[in-house]
Each structure stands twice: as structure tokens, then as C-alpha cells.
Subunit: 387 residues, 2 copies
């Protein structure tokens, strides 16, 4: 079974590659390294230094040879370049394509015009290239596209998975769930989803759109095998997600900064559950002509709950933590209804790892090993949604 | 009152410019002439030769000076070039921006990868540039964006204007009306709409999205004033809309070609009603922070009805017309429910010009004057939605 991962250098792409290779999938990786470029431009880096992707692949393949794991093959390039992409698809003929290859930061997309345009151009046009590549070269490939729970916004009704059955003036229909994205980044995911739905309807391609929540954690069974295999743990204001940032703030003695009221609710999942979900999406693919949507998260928290959980967990390790509310740099509802469904993955066998104090304490201990690397200057939000 | 028209060289942009200038609005035009480029690439041209935009503006201003009409100012350029656009916005500081400046053909967007990418890149990124330009330079400008009825698709429920009030599992919300666009072109309009809604919500801009139906007709009070002032009448398979094409087929003795069953229903309006709607949208602008949506059409027809109407009208002129059903090159439902609302413009005073035999006969007589120009090779559809 051949799997092509686009965005294989990323926080999730790389652990997914190893997770699948270990299970004997044939894994092919590509990346345009735009995230490393954005890191450099903004003076940010992951907590623990990460190796070049070539060295990570080299280390994995050496280690794996002895242990009988599958090999990972790296073909670097940019899917915005259709000639590169078509050659790649022709050579690999993947059974599944896992498309992580997008600019992944909402704050980055809100920095200014250039960044908003880059986010939408890179994400929408790159994905559009992929759809044409698959149609022309490998129409049997199942496209697994990483979407975002953020495309739904925070509606006053329950959020279903991709579709909504509705009754209006006595008539019925099943439609794509209405979208109200949070940022230009999330808007790019919304446009992707509409394009993806269209090519399934019209060309008969098969695709799964995974609307993922906020991922936390850093270690997987594979990343801890060797120092060269770690994935990027970001705690900065551009790529850092809220729980990862809180744990770093706890370690370096900075207050946990809550944006606004802290009552805003979001969906979350452990990085290890991301990997399990991806494999489940492979095992239960969409049918030809089907645009399948799965909401990929395991729990809902508000930001205050997360801060309090970090506070009590840190306390058990003897770390005293302060919580500080700051003006919300984002435009979002401070109090709202939020009830998204995540039945789809539970029904096909996901056994979630739920967030608890044990996990937070373990992660804090991991972060402490790299405490010297923490750059406090990159913690506080500098990007405002409205200025 | 200063009006900036983006896409001022187009089928609708140019008549809009004259219509408003005559009413003493100060009109500023821009265009990147990409439609003329696409015409050349595909060997197509409008029925009646049209002048360069500079000559049309020159003619109007000469004529208008004597009659006391407003002046039109032309500043050619591309809104994909942010430096050009920002300078333009800074110099003009428009009260209203009428944004026609998009690749307007659904079949063109379905030709292949390059055309799909161009359509989405030009339309989405150009519009995104405009939103940033307005935010930074003239946030008081009211953006009037031309959308499309085709973003709704043909749902099994009544189509409301932009929003849908719904009840789901006992809870209520008002959401953007679900989208199911017909083509990569319509998908670009959907992405535009989501971006537009976002900047109204988050930045407090004011915008009106006009989801327009299929426009027919060619002559307005202004275009007929002088041969240099005509607008482009397309009957070809790329830019030609269905009713205009039928009338040309009637004149040149080709059968009226119906794609598929002919039972597919669409929304229509006369070119003169487009102009009236634009002025109404100016007079009843959105409020700050409001994303206002109006469905811009006057009537619903299925394709068979239109063909029959052309047939009987032509007969009264002594022209015998054949109707021929051909395999539908598009992917669309052949039979479906269709009940879109167009209350919004009627409520603010639109008095529609309805389609009738008199109009068709007049247009056929107009077309006959240019019969020698008809190129039969460009009539039949060559672009398939799925191949």
C-alpha cells in the first residue's frame, strides 16, 4: 500500500510518515519547506532543534533496516509546480495521498496582505494542482486532505460532520455544513473543501476531508526512538497551539496568557490520536464520487479549563503558575454555544487518548529538558485580527 | 459621488460606466484586459467589433461634454498588482467600488488546469488584494462585488438571499446560505463571498455581494448613442450566454443547441436591469460591518422555454428555427427543484424589464445587421466538465 504524504516535514507530517512506515506502508514524502522559511522570517524556532528532513529520513531508514520497519522515501519539491507534482504522482501512483502541505498558521495569515495572499495562494492553488494531478494521472488515489474545525466557526447549532440535513419551508435537503471561518488561513481551508467536494461530484474522485481540532503533544512512539526523529514543538505566537504554549509558559515562569475571556471553546486532540485517525481514514476510504468529511478531535475545552489544568498539574511538580488574561488579539466570540460532533472516527474504532494531568506533567518534564532554548520574546501575540 | 469600476472593459462594466456617468456620478474605470487576451487565445470575438476602451472613453467624453454628461476617467492596470491598486484607491478614494474584475466564464474555468488555476488565482487573489486595499486606504468605500447565482447550485430547498435562518436539533441560527457551485469559476465566487463576509465581520468593512443570474441583451440607452460605445456581445462557447447564443443561432440558420434535457432551470435578467440594480445597490449600501447579499435576477426559465420563445419570435420574423438537443457537456442536474428569491431588489424599487417576443425580435434584427460576422465554428461547446 503506497502512501504519499505532502508536507512531510511538518509537525504532523513527519510523525505520520514514521507511524505508517512502521506498519509496513510504503511511505513517500514531499515538502516545499515553506514552514521553515516562515520560521526564519519571523525569528522563531521549535523548542528542540529538529534535523533536516533528509537526515530524519536517513536516520529512520538506518534504524528501520535493523528492526524490519518500512522505508521512507523523500522527494523534495513544491506542489505549486505542476510538472514536479505530476512526475511525482506518475512515479509513485499512490493508493492514498495525505495532504498536510499547507501554510498551517491562522495568525500568520492575519499578519498582513502578503501573508494572507500567500496562505490562500499556496493552499488553494496547491490543492487545486493536486486535484488536477490526481484526475489526470492517478484517479484511483484516495485523497486525504487536512481541513480544520475552524472553518465551521462557532454556530449556535450543533456542528455535524461536513453535511447538514435541513428542512426549509417544508422541503428537505442535505447540504455542506455552513461555514464561518476564523481567519484567512481557515478561509483557505473552506475554499479547499468546496473545490474538493466539486471534483468528487463532477469527476468522481474520492476524498476524505479531515476537519481537525487543535493538536497538542510532541512525543509519539516513533519520535522518541532517536534524537534525530523528533518533530517540531512550537510554542511561539505563530505556530504554537494554545496548550503547548501554556506548558512552555509554565516551565519558563511566564504567566499563562489567556486571550480575552477564556470562555471561547475549541476542539482538541493528542498528536497520537492524529496518527490513529489518519490510519483509520486510510482503512475506511471514501468511495468513488464521495466527498467524505470526518471531524478529527476527541475533546472540547474552553481556554480557562486548559489553563487551570496546566496550573494544577504544574503544582504537582512543584511549579507555581500564574494565569493572566490579556486583550484578545483575535476577533472571536467570547461566549458561545459549541457542540461539534466527532462520532465518525469513534464509529470506525478510534480509542482516544484523553487529556489528563499525567500527560501534562510528562510534557512539562520534556519541556524542562530544553528550558534553556525557550525564547520568551516569541511567546506573546504580536498579530492582531483587527488593527 | 465617486464610483470606481473594476473590469470596466467588460460586457457589463462598460455599460455600467456610461449609465452612471450620464447620471452625473464621477466614474473611474480600470481593467487588466484579461478577457480580450482569453478571446485571442481561443480565436473568438464579439459579434459587433468593439473599440479599445480608451477610444470608448474618448468618444463618451466628447459626446458627453456637449450633452452635459459626467466624465469617465480610465486608469488601466491590474488589481493583482497591489502597488497599482493602492495608488488607484489613494488617488480616487471611491465612495463605491463596483468589482466586475474577474474571469467571468464557467466553461473557460473548466478547460483544464491552467485555466482553472488562472480563474481562481485571478478572482480570489485579486479580490483579496482589493479587500486589503480598502481596509488600508479607503475603509469607508462600499464594495459592490459581482457574485453569481451559480454558487448556490440547485438545492432542493428555496434559495434565499445570501443567508438562511435554520433550526437544527431544537436550536436556531442564521448562516450563510449553503453553497454548491457549478464550476471552478463559480467556486472562485464562493471563495470570494466567504472572504468578503469575513472582512465585514472582522474589519467592519461594508460590502454588497450581488449574486447575478445569466444576463441577456446588448443594447442600453447609452451603447446605442454611437457605434464606438457598443458593448461586447458574445455568442461563442466560452463567453456566450445561452439566450444570446440562441438568437445568433436563429439568425445564422444553425439549430438552437440545448445541452441535455433542457429542463435545467436558471435565473435571467436583461442587461438594462443589471444597470438599474447596480444603481440601487449604490443607493441602498450595506452598513459598516454588514455583508449584504442580494440575488440579482428577474425571472427563472428552463432552457427549453427559452429555445421555444426564440423559435416563435423568429417565426414572426419569417425565420424558421430548428431546436436540437445535444449531449450536455456540463455536469448538472437535468431535472431539479428551483425556487430562488429575488425580493431584495424588488423591495428597494427595481421595476424589471421582462423577457418577451418583442425583445427577442428586436435583438434578432440587431444581430442580422452583423450576420456576416458570425463565426459558426465558435458556437458549439468544446469544453467538457468531465472528460
Amino acid at each position: 500500500m503506497k502512501i504519499l504524504i505532502i508536507g512531510g516535514d511538518g509537525y504532523l507530517g513527519w510523525p505520520t510518515a514514521m507511524f505508517l512506515a512502521k506498519k509496513k506502508y510504503q511511505v513517500f514524502l514531499t515538502d516545499n519547506f515553506s514552514k521553515r522559511k516562515i520560521e526564519s522570517e519571523n525569528g522563531i524556532k521549535p523548542l528542540q532543534p529538529i534535523e533536516t528532513l533528509s537526515n530524519r529520513v536517513y536516520t529512520w531508514n538506518n534504524l528501520g533496516k535493523k528492526k524490519g520497519y518500512g522505508k521512507i522515501r523523500l522527494i523534495s519539491g513544491d506542489i505549486l509546480n505542476q510538472r514536479f507534482l505530476n512526475k511525482l504522482l506518475k512515479n509513485v501512483k499512490p493508493d492514498h495521498i495525505i495532504h498536510y502541505g499547507e501554510q498551517p498558521s491562522a495568525p500568520y495569515s492575519m499578519m498582513g496582505r502578503e501573508q494572507a495572499v500567500y496562505s490562500q495562494y499556496n493552499n488553494i492553488i496547491g490543492s487545486l494542482n493536486l486535484l488536477f494531478g490526481v484526475k489526470g494521472i492517478c484517479p484511483k488515489s484516495h485523497i486525504i486532505k487536512l481541513g480544520s474545525m475552524g472553518i465551521y466557526g462557532t454556530p449556535n447549532i450543533d456542528i455535524e460532520e461536513g453535511y447538514l440535513k435541513l428542512k426549509h419551508k417544508g422541503r428537505f435537503d442535505k447540504v455542506l455544513f455552513p461555514m464561518k471561518p476564523h481567519s484567512f488561513y481557515h478561509l483557505s481551508k473552506a475554499a479547499d473543501s468546496l473545490n474538493l467536494d466539486f471534483v468528487c461530484r463532477v469527476w468522481g474522485l474520492k476524498a476524505t476531508d479531515l476537519h481537525q481540532g487543535v493538536v497538542y503533544g510532541v512525543n509519539t512512539k516513533e519520535t522518541i526512538m532517536n534524537n534525530n526523529l523528533v518533530t517540531s514543538f512550537h510554542y511561539d505566537h505563530i505556530f504554537g497551539t494554545v496548550l503547548n504554549r501554556f506548558m512552555v509558559q509554565a516551565v519558563c515562569g511566564s504567566p499563562l496568557t489567556i486571550y480575552g475571556s477564556g470562555n471561547q471553546k475549541r476542539t482538541f486532540l493528542n498528536i497520537n490520536d492524529t496518527l490513529k485517525c489518519i490510519e483509520l481514514a486510510i482503512k475506511k476510504p471514501a468511495k468513488y464520487g464521495e466527498y467524505k468529511v470526518r471531524n478529527q478531535f476527541t475533546e472540547v475545552f474552553d481556554i480557562n479549563e486548559l489553563a487551570q489544568l496546566v496550573e494544577v498539574s504544574a503544582k504537582e511538580l512543584g511549579i507555581k503558575v500564574k494565569i493572566k488574561k490579556i486583550k484578545n488579539p483575535r476577533t472571536e466570540l467570547s461566549k458561545h454555544y459549541y457542540k461539534p460532533s466527532n462520532k465518525s472516527f469513534l464509529e470506525i474504532g478510534l480509542k482516544p487518548v484523553y487529556l489528563n494531568k499525567k500527560f501534562i506533567k510528562e510534557t512539562i518534564l520534556y519541556i524542562q529538558k530544553y528550558k534553556v532554548n525557550i525564547d520568551k520574546k516569541i511567546l506573546d501575540p504580536k498579530i492582531k485580527w483587527k488593527n
